[in-house]
């Protein structure tokens, strides 16, 4: 990183305005180094970290940055799995994690209005008091900020039935690249006034504008849940069972799959009594009216048994249900017991192609001699192939990089996508053209340039640099 004199000037002029308390402008090396990373790969130290807690502060900072051509990197709590907040060109990290003062529920309108630094799960907890729910549930929801979720359009297990972050955003307050404060959308479900800028900003990974407030849609909270654990001797059968359940007219709130390697890893780590000779395990949760889900549970059981399930267990209590989910939760700690580096992908394929994707993943694993386990959200085709490696083993990491490229190719060849919920960031940028084509990517670039002509908003993300390749080793 080269010291950028423009960043120094930005900080000087910002200080002169006496707008932001000195304690929220971080310049020491130990402070700056603490914002150099997220939960993925890459390490770049910013020149300054600023912690805004008001829209006018963001507007002032961005106005200066645009004038001085200083890169701006918005960051929530750094749980991104795609390099979203990493300051690859130095400049300013805008840390939004301290801006969480607004979390208001309007029960009559069934909406929530939130500051960007509010923790995702706090929104759902606040909604719960009114028997409502904020459904998007990325697994980092107890840590991640809503601002980060909006920027990355995060999703989670409930995506199958309830959709992802973008499906719950009614309106935004944003600061544009020239420092203007703008409102998009509104407070109503129906709104067709002009371009849908809200949906364009959501998932744009901080490259088009900076989100300073959001109006979110809430839904009624389901009265009851039921969890089932289903074992399959044959992976293909589990795919058939999933299709059968959905064709039956039942949409489970969660439908998760673990492959044999994941089950073995969990049993080796903390035995939960799962058989390790099955090829696949499904965890199914249905929600709704207590009477309705009793009946649906029977139907799901029938669908599974008809399609070759070895065994179906229905949780009789909340404790038993959480015991079932424990197996899924243990996958991550279990797999890093072998080697410390975890590369978590989220390539997503059409539901019917899941068995085919599993077959190709096994080929990729064998051909590259890598440790690969697969689990994920089977209901919506969003798989999480996780490669376990050691970042200090250069030769192994090269094989991993090759395998990751092959996973992306396979997903696209099957009609799927590079990323279901983690985002493109730095890691997947080199593969964008493969999915979108030259012209598709060029159109996106045109949008980016019209929003941010000086390329100050999260530069280095989404769009590949010339000749950029996937590198998971130090960088």
């Amino acid at each position: 990183m080269n010291e950028n004199s423009n960043t120094t000037e930005l900080v000087q002029r910002l200080r002169a305005k006496q707008l932001i308390n000195e304690s929220r402008i971080l310049t020491s090396l130990s402070d700056r180094a603490s914002y150099a990373y997220d939960a993925s790969f890459g390490h770049h130290i910013p020149e300054v970290v600023i912690q805004p807690t008001a829209t006018n502060e963001v507007s002032e900072i961005i106005t200066l940055a645009n004038e001085l051509h200083v890169p701006i990197y918005p960051r929530g709590q750094g749980t991104s799995l795609s390099g979203g907040p990493i300051p690859v060109y130095g400049g300013v990290v805008l840390d939004f994690s301290q801006w969480d003062d607004r979390l208001e529920i309007y029960p009559d309108d069934m909406i929530a209005v939130v500051s960007p630094g509010v923790i995702t799960s706090h929104i759902d907890e606040a909604a719960k008091a009114y028997s409502m729910m904020y459904p998007p549930d990325p697994s980092s929801m107890n840590v991640s900020t809503i601002g980060g979720n909006l920027a990355e359009n995060a999703g989670g297990p409930r995506g199958l039935k309830y959709g992802v972050t973008k499906d719950y955003v009614l309106g935004l307050e944003i600061v544009t690249a020239n420092g203007d404060i703008i409102r998009t959308g509104g407070q109503t479900v129906k709104n067709v006034t002009g371009y849908d800028l809200t949906k364009l900003i959501v998932g744009s990974e901080g490259t088009l504008a900076v989100i300073t407030e959001a109006t979110l849609k809430l839904v009624p909270r389901p009265k009851a849940h039921k969890t089932m654990l289903v074992l399959f001797d044959d992976l293909i059968d589990s795919g058939k069972a999933i299709s059968a359940i959905l064709r039956e007219g039942i949409t489970p709130s969660k439908l998760e799959i673990m492959d044999q390697a994941s089950i073995k890893a969990v049993e080796a780590y903390q035995p939960t009594g799962l058989p390790i000779d099955v090829e696949a395990l499904l965890l199914i949760e249905i929600d709704g009216h207590p009477l309705a889900i009793e009946e649906e549970a029977e139907e799901v059981q029938e669908c599974c048994l008809k399609n070759g399930a070895r065994e179906v267990q229905i949780a009789k209590s909340a404790e038993e249900a959480s015991k079932f989910w424990q197996a899924r939760k243990l996958v991550s700690p279990a797999i890093v017991q072998v080697k410390p580096t975890k590369i978590s992908e989220d390539a997503t394929v059409p539901r019917s192609k899941i068995p085919e994707m599993f077959r190709i993943l096994k080929e990729i694993k064998d051909a590259n001699n890598i440790d690969l386990v697969v689990f994920g959200h089977a209901g919506d085709g969003n798989l999480h192939p996780n490669i376990i490696a050691d970042v200090r083993d250069e030769e192994e990491m090269k094989r991993v990089e090759k395998a990751v490229g092959e996973i992306f190719e396979a997903a696209i060849a099957l009609g799927g996508t590079l990323s279901g919920e983690h985002g493109i960031g730095t890691m997947k940028a080199p593969f964008m053209e493969m999915e979108l084509g030259t012209k598709g990517l060029a159109l996106m670039k045109t949008v980016k340039e019209s929003f941010d002509p000086n390329n100050i908003l999260n530069p280095g993300k989404i769009f590949p640099e010339k000749g950029q390749k996937l590198v998971l080793r130090d960088g």
Partner: protein, 421 residues
């Protein structure tokens, strides 16, 4: 080259998911990633690689409470304790310590805690200081304020009245066959300021039919020394204790102090690189049990009502290091008349953390002030603790809230004793 003294290899186990952030007290009160577990691990790694200096690392490490709540929150079992310890030990050698730090540590570690002779003198000093008009004189004239750091002055006013510690005796007769036999670990601070709690603990064990031996030549556990990065002294103390306790067959080594217990159960880790001690340390560590575990298993009779509305502040070291979570709750549930109310932020450290509240007084009060609203809104008239450090800190919290006349602070042993003795 990588600095091998730092737990560099262990830093790679962190996948930087950030799940530790909400569990970290200093991240909540200091408002930046630098003072979070993930941030500190990153900085230790960078220091080991020579990318930042030891001086850059010092403040983030000094500000860590060492409460280890991040270890419980971590989904990939990162050994944060090892990483922190290695950093403390290296920083002790490589960075300059302030006069104040040196003064406090010298006073505490080298003069007061480890030597039983010094200890009894100091204890006597404390005793006479509180009973004589000297206390009045010192407070009035501001002598204390001039000599002692702010943290010590603040705590001076809430120190319990030291009792002349009665010599604790072992059971006279040998244990009949089938009796649970325990060796009781006194703890230096506990036996100085909370001596009656040790007396009550031993009485309760006897009442529960347990045979108690008070092992001679036992020493300070070494926890405070290791918090300060002085592992040399900590290892010496550990060896003294291992030697003292291995002459005799006990089912358990029992202590009533969350922090000391955490140190004792990690003796195996502390001495892992010393082949002559490794196995002995493992045997010792395995035998340790907090008093709540032994009492919860026993058949004590709870005779008297203890009419209080109480919250419970678990000791972090008991929860996250000893992993003893359920036993105190089981005991609390058995006490007739005691109305236990859950409180928000229960698992959040109170900010006491060994001598953290004396060395880093302001930072510690920020954490306490972040915690206390949750205590107050539970409307208790009693706070139950399991560690003398937490005990004093919670007393301080009650005083800062102006509620000293409404809320008492008691050790769990005192509460059980009120009902059973």
């Amino acid at each position: 080259m990588v600095d091998k003294r730092l737990a560099y290899k262990e830093t790679f186990d962190c996948v930087q998911c950030g799940y530790c952030l909400p569990a970290c007290p200093t991240y909540q009160t200091m408002n930046k990633e630098t003072h979070s577990p993930r941030g500190r691990i990153n900085l230790v790694k960078m220091a080991a690689e020579g990318k930042i200096s030891y001086d850059d690392l010092k403040e983030p490490i000094d500000m860590c409470l060492g409460c280890r709540a991040c270890e419980t929150a971590c989904p990939t079992n990162v050994q944060y304790g090892s990483i922190l310890e290695s950093a403390k030990e290296v920083l002790r050698d490589e960075t300059k310590r302030s006069k104040r730090e040196q003064f406090i540590e010298h006073a505490l570690f080298e003069k007061l805690l480890p030597h039983s002779s010094m200890l009894s003198i100091a204890k006597f000093g404390l005793f006479s200081y509180q009973r004589l008009p000297l206390q009045f004189v010192a407070r009035k004239t501001g002598v204390l304020k001039a000599v002692l750091p702010k943290g010590m002055v603040a705590f001076e006013s809430i120190l319990p009245k030291a009792e002349r510690s009665k010599e604790k005796k072992s059971n006279d007769e040998d244990a009949p066959p089938g009796t649970v036999k325990v060796a009781y670990f006194l703890g230096c601070l506990m036996d100085t300021m909370f001596s009656t709690i040790n007396d009550q603990a031993i009485q309760l064990l006897r009442k529960a039919g347990v045979h108690v031996t008070v092992v001679k030549d036992q020493s300070c556990c070494g926890a405070l020394q290791s918090h300060g990065g002085d592992f040399k002294t900590a290892r010496q103390l550990a060896k003294k204790n291992i030697e003292a306790f291995e002459n005799g067959s006990f089912d358990y080594i029992v202590s009533s102090i969350g922090g000391c217990g955490a140190m004792l159960v990690e003796y195996d880790h502390l001495l892992k690189d010393e082949p002559a001690w490794k196995e002995r340390a493992e045997r010792f560590a395995k035998k340790h049990a907090d008093i709540s575990i032994v009492l919860a298993q026993s058949e004590l009779t709870y005779n008297h009502h203890v009419n209080h509305t109480a919250v419970y502040q678990p000791s972090c070291h008991m929860t996250h290091v000893q992993k003893n979570v359920d036993a105190p709750f089981e005991l609390i549930a058995k006490v007739p008349g005691l109305n236990y109310v859950p409180m928000d932020k229960q698992d959040l450290c109170c900010g006491s953390a060994g001598i953290y509240n004396i060395v880093n007084y302001e930072a510690s009060m920020d954490i306490l002030d972040y915690k206390m609203p949750a205590v107050v809104s539970a409307k208790p008239d009693l706070i139950i603790t399991t560690n003398p450090g937490c005990h004093l800190q919670m007393k301080m919290g009650v005083e800062r809230e102006g509620l000293s006349h409404q809320i008492q602070v008691k050790h769990l042993v005192e509460v059980i004793a009120e009902s059973c003795l």
